[in-house]
């Protein structure tokens, strides 16, 4: 296993993010704590937490905060998960109601320990959010469910507006970056979503050592699978025991990726250093 680094490089000037503070920030923080919810903003050590929470939005993470997979880019703890909390969907739906969100993004840890990978829980969560928040649009960022069509169909049947599944990186780097997940399996997951007529979205991180042509190939593969929305953001090492950054991609190259994506027929490409999966997520409902 990799030696843990302790020294961190200084970030380039274009990577500065807003510090977490402000009235809304405190309100969101309090609500999340009061309702015993998790967010990928905190569990993933996201650099945009300050900006998003201050704007009154958050990306909620269901099914606990312990993931059964040990991906080398991800800050979420890899551990034996706690039992499923079936009251969580209601608490989450109420939180969204209190925040008055027009759009929400839900993700989860991967639950390989559950027979259905948590698909039924996902469906219940989406339905409960819709029941209490009929005007709120929902984006779900789901695990691969081992590309099992029956399990993915459970999420599709609950009718979220967007279903996203992240490729995370290019084909060559997938075994070194993700644990258990496979490049082709993720593509299959996306193709199942797209075939059902739901907006299929995906995201990749750059700066992990990929080449430009590999990024473009991933775009081609995603389009082939029916993906309509793509996010491209700079990988940042969230903790010293995770993969180090190989390269800080310049804003100019991000812009080039955005244009290449649009040329390939994506409806939306969000590509810039601080972009994360949920960046401008509310726009993607219309893709």
């Amino acid at each position: 296993m990799a030696e843990l680094r302790t020294e961190r490089e200084r970030l380039p000037r274009w990577m500065k993010a807003q510090l977490p503070s402000g009235e809304n920030y405190s309100k969101v923080k309090r609500l999340i704590a009061d309702h015993r919810l998790h967010t990928i903003c905190t569990s993933g050590n996201c650099p945009n937490k300050g900006e998003c929470w201050n704007a009154g939005t958050a990306s909620f993470m269901i099914l606990g905060d312990k993931c059964t997979r040990n991906c080398r880019f991800c800050y979420v703890q890899n551990d034996v998960p706690d039992p499923v909390d079936w009251m969580e969907p209601l608490r989450l739906a109420k939180t969204i109601q209190t925040l008055g969100l027009k759009h929400c993004v839900i993700t989860s840890v991967t639950r390989d320990d559950l027979e259905d990978g948590g698909a039924e829980f996902w469906a219940t969560t989406i339905r409960k959010i819709k029941e209490l928040n009929p005007e709120t649009t929902i984006e779900t960022l789901i695990p691969d469910f081992n590309a099992n069509p029956e399990l993915i169909q459970k999420v599709i049947d609950a009718r979220p507006d967007v279903i996203s599944h992240n490729m995370e990186t290019v084909r060559r780097l997938t075994p070194k970056v993700r644990s258990t997940a496979r490049y082709d399996r993720s593509l299959k997951t996306i193709s199942i979503i797209a075939s059902a007529g739901i907006v299929a979205k995906s995201g990749i991180m750059v700066g992990l050592g990929e080449t430009e042509s590999e990024v473009l190939q991933t775009m081609d593969d995603l389009r082939q699978a029916g993906c309509k929305v793509l996010t491209v953001g700079q990988y940042l090492q969230p903790d010293s025991n995770l993969l180090p950054v190989q390269e800080y991609i310049t804003p100019e190259l991000f812009e080039q990726y955005r244009m290449e994506g649009m040329k390939r027929g994506f409806s939306y490409v969000e590509s810039s250093p601080l972009v994360r999966s949920s960046y401008h997520a509310e726009r993607h409902v219309k893709a």
């Binding site: 030696e3 843990l4 302790t6 551990d79 034996v80 390989d112 997938t174 025991n241």
Partner: protein
């Protein structure tokens, strides 16, 4: 994450490259298959290691390969009994599922020190219905072989013809018939995991039956 101090009891040299570092168990609890971060007290440097010993052992063993340029593993090898290390954990989900624990057939596939979690399983649950395929370079790298039933341990050696099979694990698996109903547990580096998963899938093993732990 909880961090606590443990004392080195012994360094057990196995080969010129590998050794076991044995620490006092203290009140440390874990599930077989989990790993920890070992840190040098007073420094933040650390490295992840799967636990090699079983839950019933009153010590904590870690099987370590000394990396030629790896300061950390070299440091550990030269520690004297009585030295202290910080242990952070346990972490990880590469634990046996209930089906395997209750006797469902499973195949453990490891390369090199990737045998650690399987060794911990075998020491903790002696009645498992399992087979182990262990890929190494030389026959003296059959770490912890004695903890597995003789008929259930299969050694693939890639550099000398002194194991049960002369060649890489992946070659052996390609040439073997595999039961898609078995549960397959894989532990090793990312290339091995990727290659073996592809072989298993090509032989009809569903993704749900493949569990992996990558040594990055």
């Amino acid at each position: 994450m909880k961090r606590q101090k443990h004392t080195v009891q012994q360094i057990i040299n196995l080969t010129p490259e590998t050794f076991i570092i044995r620490l006092d168990r203290g009140n440390f609890r874990f599930e077989p298959g989990q790993y920890v971060i070992i840190r040098i007290p007073g420094q933040n440097k650390g490295r992840e290691y799967s636990i090699f010993s079983g839950v019933n052992d009153n010590y904590l063993d870690f099987l370590i390969r000394e990396i030629p340029e790896g300061e950390f593993s070299r440091y550990l090898r030269h520690l004297l009994p009585g030295s202290e290390l910080d242990i952070e954990g346990p972490k990880g989900y590469f634990v046996l599922d209930e089906k395997t624990k209750s006797g469902h057939k499973a195949l453990f596939i490891a390369t090199g020190t990737g045998i650690s979690p399987f060794h911990s399983y075998a020491r903790s649950f002696p009645d498992l219905h399992i087979k182990v395929i262990h890929g190494v370079h030389f026959d003296d790298e059959a770490y912890g072989r004695g903890s597995f039933d003789n008929g259930n341990y299969f050694l693939c050696t890639s550099r000398v013809d002194k194991g049960d099979y002369f060649g890489r694990v992946s070659y052996y698996l390609k040439a073997s018939e595999l039961d898609p109903k078995m549960i397959y547990y894989l532990c090793g580096n990312s290339s091995m995991i990727d290659e073996v998963t592809t072989i298993l899938e090509s032989k009809g093993v569903p993704a749900e039956h493949i569990r992996t732990e990558v040594f990055f």
